[in-house]
Amino acid sequence: MKYLMLIYGNQEKWDSILAEEWPGAIAKQEAFNRKYSDTGELIGAYGLADAVNARLVRRQDGAPAVTDGPYLETKEYIASLYLVDCENAERAEQIAADMPWADQEPTEVWPILHESPTNP
């Protein structure tokens, strides 16, 4: 069963981390990624740009119409996402609880219901 794991944050939160703490924080996350990649459970880990860099795209008269956004009502937005394929929900919860910052920040765990058969 595949699961999407999401971590939320915002610029304020990133700014609160001291510059000298970043390498250690990144190393911890990379150690997590390596650990679950090695078990054959982590399919991919991705970090998103800040919300100011996000765009909303529509189609108008057959051409892309691009605006700033999204205008979020929540204070925090998706910061990174992980695609995991593991035995069951218990295992997914165990992996999520092993995230480096799980004792401070929750991780959302979403079961994946469908995936395209054309996925690589």
Binding site: S37, G40, E41, I43, D85, L113, N119, P120
Partner: protein, 421 residues
């Protein structure tokens, strides 16, 4: 003698024999498995071009052994001790001729390999991946395609599984004690059953690129039955697979929607598979004696369904009796729910709802979509269409696959229409 066979089929049949033979001499599951895969790959490239050798098994063992020696030599400095074992084994000892090979030895090699792949140190996904590769002879790319994960992820899973076997102190052999052998065999049967279900649940995907896992699990179950012809649970597992597979042509509509057993066009069921499955389970039950195993009971239930010309002609009292036994032998939430449906058929929907209420107190299944779907079904039978529609909607929300969700939503709409009408 092998000229008219598909080389791919032949290779996959020989894969576990070759690996089993190497393992017996060398141990070192990880190295032997890699060497066997390389030999299979070499054969897949060379045989179509140069023709199949007279002794394909011997050819594969020779090539695999050579690869193993090369690998051992290249690691010589690092792993002096292991290397001495490998290099000290004379090649002649490795190459027992196929013509007078001891079939008992071959059988034990193959069983030891299968038991190794379903090693207790491994998680179910790892057991499945390793079994498909080492015993089924599928490539990592094929297994990755079957489970819709990238090849690198599957390669990592297989490599980790081999490391776990290496690190564990559970020996790679058929356990001598009857009890331990029984436990390990149960794990093997469970893995084959999971592979079958994975294939049976797949209702979409390109069949050309996604290997047919149900067909593969049936092939492996037939192979295991040849190794253990007297084990009633092995025969029953094969029977269960055949009796379930027989319904495949009728289980989805042309639009790809799930069709429940009660509504399937039974004229489209595969009668040859049913006949074979019924004969197998009948034999297994006769041979099984007093201690009836869970696969014998599940196969017997499947046989009763498959032999009924429609849902009303089904021998529900017999099905209920079999589920009662199954609840005692191997209690599990899914079969308990099926038992509730049988209760409703025999004693009426109200009795079914009472039986369901007992299950609902079990925290493990309380929010389970199949429990909600069962309740919806029973409420519908009882004429309570409004509550049935809500229960179907709630079940649809909690479903874990798209075909199930679509089916449950359709049922919710049907019940809502009946409630309004």
């Amino acid at each position: 003698m092998t000229a008219d066979r598909d080389p791919g089929d032949l290779l996959r049949e020989l894969a576990p024999q070759v690996l089993g033979a190497l393992l017996r001499r060398f141990g070192h599951f990880d190295l032997c498995e890699d060497a066997t895969q390389e030999a299979l790959l070499a054969a897949a490239l060379q045989w179509p071009r140069d023709g199949t050798p007279d002794n394909p098994r011997g050819w594969l063992i020779t090539v695999a052994a050579r690869r193993l020696m090369d690998a051992a030599r290249s690691e010589q400095s690092r792993r002096r001790r292991e290397d001495q074992v490998a290099v000290a084994t004379p090649q002649s000892e490795l190459l027992s001729p196929a013509a007078d090979a001891d079939p008992g030895q071959d059988r034990d090699d193959s069983l030891a390999l299968l038991f190794g792949c379903c090693h207790p140190a491994l998680s179910a996904p790892s057991q499945i991946a390793l079994t498909l590769r080492a015993v089924g002879g599928l490539t990592t790319a094929q297994i990755a395609a079957a489970f819709l994960v990238p090849e690198a992820t599957m390669a990592q899973r297989i490599s980790r599984a081999k490391q776990a076997i290496k690190a564990s102190d559970v020996p790679l052999s058929v356990p001598a004690s009857e009890a331990e052998r029984g436990d390990r065999l149960r794990a093997v049967l469970h893995v084959l059953y999971l592979i079958f279900n994975e294939g049976y649940a797949a209702t979409q995907g390109d069949q050309l690129t996604r290997p047919d896992l149900s067909g593969e699990s049936i092939r492996l179950a037939r192979w295991l039955r040849r190794l253990l012809p007297d084990d009633p649970e092995v025969a029953a597992l094969l029977a269960l697979m055949l009796l379930t597979e027989a319904r495949r042509p009728a289980r989805t509509s042309p639009g790809g929607e799930l069709v429940p057993l009660a509504e399937q066009d039974r004229g489209r069921w595969d009668q040859a598979l049913i006949a074979e499955g019924v004969a197998l389970v009948t034999g297994a039950l006769a041979a099984g004696g007093k201690a009836v195993g869970p696969y014998q009971l599940q196969a017997a239930i499947a046989a009763v369904h498959d032999e009924a010309k429609d849902v009303d002609a089904t021998d529900w009292p017999q099905i209920l009796a079999l589920y009662d036994l199954l609840d005692r032998v191997a209690p599990n939430p899914v079969s308990s729910l099926s038992r509730v449906v049988a209760v409703a058929r025999v004693r009426g929907p109200a009795a079914g709802l009472d039986a369901l209420a007992e299950l609902e107190s079990d925290r493990r299944v309380a929010g389970y979509h199949r429990l909600l779907a069962t309740r919806a079904h029973l409420l519908g039978l009882a004429g309570q269409h409004g509550p049935a529609a809500s229960a179907y909607r709630e079940a649809a929300r909690r479903a874990t696959s798209v075909p199930e969700r679509r089916y449950l939503s359709r049922m919710a709409a049907q019940q809502a229409a009946q409630a309004a009408g």
